[in-house]
Amino acid sequence: MDALFLEFFQNTGFYLCDYRNIIMIIVGMIFIYLGIAKDYEPLLLVPIGFGMLVGNIPIFKGLGLGIYENNSVLHYLYFGVTQGIYPPLIFLGIGAMTDFSTLLARPVLMLLGAAAQAGIFITFLGALALGFLPKEAAAIGIIGGADGPTAIFLTAKLAPHLIGPIAVAAYSYMALVPVIQPPIMKLLTTRKERLIHMEEPRQVTKREKMIFPVIVFLLCCFLAPAALPLLGMLCFGNLLKEAVVTERLAVTARTALIDIATILLGITVGASTQGDVFLTHSSVKIFILGALSFGIATASGLLFAKFMNLFLKKKINPLLGAAGVSAVPDSARVVHIVGQREDPTNFLLMHAMAPNVSGVIGSAIAAGVLWSLML
């Protein structure tokens, strides 16, 4: 009987536990805490955080429980991540909930979304310099796009073994937008610049909004066909929203479908962070590069906005450049809050949504470009 108890004990998590599992469980609990108590991207951090708990329960290998075991349930769910299925579904939902009016009203702000993508390519160089292979470096660089689904999609295609750290880094930094961006914004702009009021955007007609996703899709996918899965779904979702007659489909895409995809993606990405697989030197480097990438993307947007002001008759508030990273709508919200701290009558949210959504398009194009360049 003692032997039975001993055998059972040896199969429990207490016996199999590794210090790395404990670290990841603590990280998972911090994620859950940040999501619930601090309201930092709760829809992402809570599933990922709980996924970390799930993935770091020490298990007896061979029982078909772990996410990396071929016959486990989690492995099947993880299939949607490794094969890049969930990100396009999430993009479908994002498209169905995004209003591109401000972008249509002031297309010039789209350039800010392009400028912020410089962070991706600078981080790519940084990752190469730190010894990563080109495909890994490309996957790490995309963290600077501040777009979780895009980062996961590209990593699944180029460096599937890095999905865990890259996804966690991407979502962590997205959640930390309110912490990371404001100091950079203040550092790179003067008070006078932050006080700039934006002029009222023009009214955009429904027909323009309907034509927009079709044009975006055709132009961008002809230019970078590898962006097809992400941009295709984004534009399709947006067309469903704007077409009115397909409202029922749009409602499903922006509610049930995106929620299901987010739950499955969050929990499986979290579960993929098993301590023994996740806590490596590479992961530490990825986290450092991710932070760098995010910072560079924010700075690129801000500096480009200031550059544009050299030529624009009607100056734009350079804070909008920080919204070029595609963490929708968090970075736009941060821009608004920072602007309002200087002048409570300055409402930048609506204007910041333009570079913000163009950042989504820009990072999807960047992902497509990197993918095709790495083939």
């Binding site: 789209m110 160089l125 310099a129 010894g131 007609t205 034509i211 132009l219 009607k314 470009v369």
Partner: protein, 154 residues
């Protein structure tokens, strides 16, 4: 770094050069920029395409000879520099126009301006037409051109 012999891993500029990093980055950011610049140019024209769709007559106009179009006596679109008082008038008429349909009946707008007690409604309506804010469609009605309005009053 997986599966790569640690001794063969390159670092720093050497790694970037060996993996063609500079070229990939430059090409990458160039494509992203080109794509978004082209997109912004294209979407800045969408409202004009929509206006053409709403006004098929305008397409026809593109193909008629210049002399004909001069003789056509349409509403001039030249950008006028207005005084502050004139800009205020434009804003007042904008409010009136907002109460009307997309297509505006000029006599009705004139009547509403008179009823609202606006000064010099005839001359001011002429100002709106001259500035291109009110432009004729092919059906005998007029449209409020929001772009010109914003450009004119700004």
């Amino acid at each position: 770094m997986n599966g790569v012999d640690a001794a063969s891993v390159l670092y720093g500029l050497e790694a970037i050069n060996a993996n063609n990093g500079w070229a990939i980055s430059v090409v990458g950011i160039t494509i992203v920029f080109t794509g978004l610049v082209a997109l912004s140019v294209l979407i800045s024209q969408i409202h004009k395409l929509v206006a053409l769709y709403d006004n098929p007559g305008k397409i026809k106009k593109l193909f008629v000879s210049r002399s004909e179009s001069v003789a056509r006596a349409g509403t001039p679109k030249a950008h006028l520099d207005l005084t502050e008082a004139q800009k205020q008038v434009c804003r007042q008429y904008n409010l009136l126009a907002q109460t009307m349909d997309d297509v505006i009946s000029l006599p009705k707008l004139l009547r509403m301006a008179e009823l609202s007690g606006l000064n010099d409604p005839h001359a001011n309506m002429n100002l709106l037409i001259k500035s291109g804010i009110l432009c004729a469609d092919e059906q005998g009605y007029f449209r409020w051109d929001e772009d010109i309005f914003i450009r004119t009053i700004s």
